[in-house]
């Protein structure tokens, strides 16, 4: 007695679900995660990956079965059945993807809000006293100092670093210590806030291990805040075509424990700041 088709379908469905779940959990395509929210992004990616594997395998399997099982045999010159539609089926495959997609949308919105992506920079009342909100005499603030966008969740408590992008390098300025380097050092486990400015064309600041990227747009300063949580050296990559040497526009970010970070800061802080008698404290 042949096994009923419905049981075969059910079994295939369960198998497919198991394979997708397994793939989502066990196939890791991402580089190491080195920032607090990188793990959440990876979790989202795992969900997307599971759904994707399931969908792709399912559709491919149906395609292959159709090609093999329903191929035209030699000598068969007849048509297939004249099936033109099936309303319940069509409703099913409209509604299920729609629901899945809406759930995904809400889920990723939640993650993004948690990362600080929904921070409103133009009406931010609890904004840190950065140079942004200088007195505006009835005029809108100078666009060069307004923060136009980015990811911000730190409410001003973060350690600030000013990042300037130019063809073809990133320059890092530590405003509190008032020195500039070509290599970004960050304290482990402490929220930091990068304020990104470009001198010429659009660049993008990307650290794959942080899962963070922000365009650096001339005339439109942006901000990127996060907490690095894994020691090590990571590449900073420019991700927006910025000219001939775009591919070579890379830098390094060093995440180190707070003590060695302090040492590095002290070591690099120019002596002039310490001895300058009347320099008002920056930030």
């Amino acid at each position: 007695m042949p096994i009923p088709a419905s049981i075969l379908t059910l079994a295939a469905g369960i198998l497919l679900a198991l394979i997708s779940l397994w793939a989502g959990q066990n196939i890791n395509l991402m580089p190491v995660a080195a920032a607090d929210d990188a793990g959440t992004v990876d979790a989202l990616f795992k969900v997307l990956f599971s759904i994707g594997v399931g969908l792709l395998l399912g559709i491919t399997a149906m395609l292959v079965v159709a090609l093999v099982h329903f191929r035209r045999r030699d000598g068969d010159h007849l048509d297939g059945p004249a099936v033109e539609g099936n309303l319940p089926l069509e409703v099913f495959w409209t509604a299920v993807p729609a629901i899945v997609i809406l759930i995904l949308g809400v889920y990723s919105y939640d993650i993004y809000a948690q990362m600080g992506g929904m921070a409103d920079f133009h009406h931010h009342t609890s904004m840190p006293p950065r140079e942004v909100e200088q007195v505006s005499l009835g005029h809108p603030a100078d666009p060069e100092t307004v923060i136009w966008g980015g990811i911000d969740r730190t409410d001003g408590m973060a350690f600030p670093v000013e990042v300037t992008a130019m063809q073809f390098a990133f320059i890092f300025h530590y405003p509190r210590q008032n020195f500039t380097t070509g290599e970004l050092h960050l304290p482990l486990g402490q929220p930091v806030e990068l304020r990104l400015k470009s001198n010429d064309v659009i660049h993008a600041f990307w650290v794959p291990e942080f899962r963070l990227k922000q365009d650096v747009i001339p005339g439109q300063p942006t901000v990127l805040s996060f907490t690095a949580n894994r020691q090590g050296d990571y590449d900073i990559v420019c991700a927006e075509l910025c000219g001939p040497y775009h591919g070579g526009m890379r830098s390094k970010v060093v995440v180190e424990d707070p003590r060695s970070f302090e040492e590095w800061l002290v070591h690099n802080t120019p002596a002039t700041v310490a001895t300058a008698p009347d320099s008002s404290p920056i930030a």
């Binding site: 559709i59 159709a66 090609l67 035209r72 297939g80 059945p81 409103d120 966008g149 659009i202 001939p244």
Partner: protein, 561 residues
């Protein structure tokens, strides 16, 4: 049979007088012909020429990326090559071929007309193409081509050498104008030139796809034209629309650009959807599943396609509400797209599939596009997009959509309609070899690029981190295979034009009107009145039908017939 006018049934065709002039004289293909079929072929051949050029440029990119160092060509040249590659493949190959070539060849047949609504405008639209293309190519030799990518984001496009960039703008404006003229023609033809008695909901799906596409072209392309005019003023006249150094706003360009260039994806993909909807039922011998829902999903894609552009700008410092809105809108567009794919699968299911090149290319398309659609839904999720935006993940994604998707369909369509165009069949063995090589080459080339993007390789780079070398080399091998896959196709076309098996008028036993005439069709498309095909997918036998060849009288009698 539900068709009710002149020669309709695919199974018997009207013998036509032999003495009719069938062959368009060869020189007409090089001139200002007004015949929509000639113009369609002009588009196809011109487009294919630029496909070879664009492919050669892609080859140069893949050669450069075999090693992590920038050692094959100068960095400036590399940026020129990638700019030309993108611009040529989009504006001179895919858009003109799926719209111009197949749209022009098929739409008048499908609506039962003798030609397009505006034959002269049609010819003008085509003849804007070669000058624009050669202008673009020539810019490489006069001071260097544009270097800012096909997106031409300012301020980079304002600071790179001006001559190449301005030529690029002029060329894209010409191509955009050509596209708009084409769209005006398609809308007028489909809405106003239908044979009397033919309703909108009786049209073949390709017409609906072309209608949707043309609406997108009319609404979106002019905005790109406007943006490029402003950009050229920034370059030439010293204004500062997009130049922050002069008080401008670089992101406004991105909005205007993507307001066209995201719908452009649907301008490239919707006609392909239409072609697949034509090809599958014929080779599966079944009606197109879910005709109405196919139409509604086209309309849904058109509408949603216009309101998702800013998902290309999730890292551009756009306001948060915008990111939220565009995430949801972008993801939702997967629903109508998904409907189409489920409908195609249901069309194949229980069919009598002829495993020929046309059908196999369509199946390759389904696999590739589903893959690209899945990565597309992933890219719509802002937190994930923030990581992979502007990386090789995106490169892989959109090649799965426009190459694995549309280009595969273009080849399927060539295998399917070549007999109609030329009167001869293409060789199936070479065709299936072409399909296999394309499928393998394509996937070997682009599948690994997802990993590259996830792990830190940005796009548009001539040099990269050495850890990515092996995977890049695999990708380059795939590109080589892809290049080789073109050879059986070229041989096949050349040989079949010369010695191919004569196809007859309707080799696939199809119902749509272009098959209800001779191959190649006469200048006026049909010798007599245009056939009225109200059921373009009238394939398949009723569920309780009996095979006529094996059935015996007694069985008919016992079945109560």
């Amino acid at each position: 049979m539900t068709t009710n006018a002149l020669p309709v049934s695919p199974h018997h065709r009207e013998p036509h007088p032999v003495d009719v002039q069938h062959h368009t004289p060869w020189h007409e293909y090089f001139g200002f012909s007004l015949d929509h079929k000639v113009i369609g072929i002009q588009y196809l051949v011109t487009g294919f020429f630029f496909y070879l050029v664009g492919g050669a440029l892609a080859g140069m990119i893949r050669v450069e990326l075999v090693t992590p160092l920038s050692d094959f060509m100068a960095r400036e040249t590399y940026n020129q090559v990638l700019t030309l590659h993108g611009t040529i493949m989009i504006f001179l190959w895919i858009v003109p071929v799926v719209n111009g070539a197949f749209g022009n060849y098929l739409v008048p047949f499908h609506v039962g007309a003798r030609d397009m609504a505006f034959p002269r405008l049609n010819a003008v639209a085509f003849w804007m193409l070669p000058p624009a293309g050669f202008l673009l190519l020539s810019s490489y030799f006069i001071g260097g081509a544009a270097q800012s990518g096909w997106t031409a984001y300012p301020p980079l496009s304002i600071t790179t050498p001006a001559v190449g960039q301005v030529i690029w703008i002029v060329s894209v404006l010409l191509l955009g104008g050509s596209s708009i003229f084409g769209a005006v023609n398609f809308i007028a033809t489909i809405l106003k030139l239908r044979r009397s008695g033919l309703g909108l909901f009786q049209l073949p799906m390709f017409c609906w796809a072309m209608l949707g596409t043309s609406v997108l072209v009319v609404l979106a392309t002019p905005v790109l034209a406007g943006a490029l005019i402003l950009l050229s003023m920034d370059i030439v006249a010293g204004t500062g629309f997009f130049n922050p150094a002069l008080g401008g706003n670089a992101v406004v360009y991105q909005h205007l650009f993507w307001f066209y260039s995201h719908p452009a994806v649907y301008i490239m993909v919707l006609p392909a959807f239409g072609l697949v909807s034509e090809i599958l039922p014929i080779h599966a011998r079944k009606p197109l599943f879910g005709y109405r829902s196919m139409i509604y999903s086209i309309l849904g894609i058109v509408f949603l396609g216009l309101i998702v552009w800013a998902h290309h700008m999730f890292t551009s410092g756009t306001p948060p509400w915008m990111r939220l809105f565009f995430t949801i809108a972008t993801a939702i567009i997967a629903v109508p797209t998904g409907i189409k794919f489920f409908n195609w699968l249901a069309t194949l299911w229980q069919g009598k599939l002829a495993l020929n090149s046309a059908l196999l290319f369509c199946c390759g398309f389904i696999f590739n596009f589903v893959f690209g659609g899945i990565t597309g839904v992933a890219l719509a999720q802002v937190p994930f997009d923030v990581h992979v935006h502007d990386t090789y993940f995106v490169v892989a994604h959109f090649h799965y959509i426009v190459f694995g998707g549309t280009v595969f369909v273009i080849f399927a369509a060539i295998y399917h309609w070549f007999p109609k165009i030329s009167g001869r069949l293409l060789n199936e063995h070479l065709g299936r070899l072409h399909c296999l090589l394309s499928f393998l080459g394509f996937n070997i080339c682009f599948f690994p690029q997802h990993w590259l993007g996830l792990n830190g390789m940005p796009r548009r780079v001539a040099e990269y981190d050495p850890q990515f070398q092996l995977v890049n080399q695999i990708s380059s091998v795939g590109a080589l295979l892809l290049a080789i896959s073109t050879l059986p196709f070229l041989i096949n076309v050349a040989w079949s034009l010369w010695k191919g098996v004569p196809a007859g008028d309707n080799p696939w036993q199809a119902c749509t009107p272009e098959w209800l005439t001779s191959s190649p069709p006469p200048v006026e498309n049909w010798l007599h009145e245009a056939p009225l095909v109200t059921e373009p997918y009238d394939y398949g036998s009723p569920e309780d039908a009996m095979p006529v060849t094996t059935v015996q009288g007694r069985e008919l009698w016992s079945a109560g017939r």
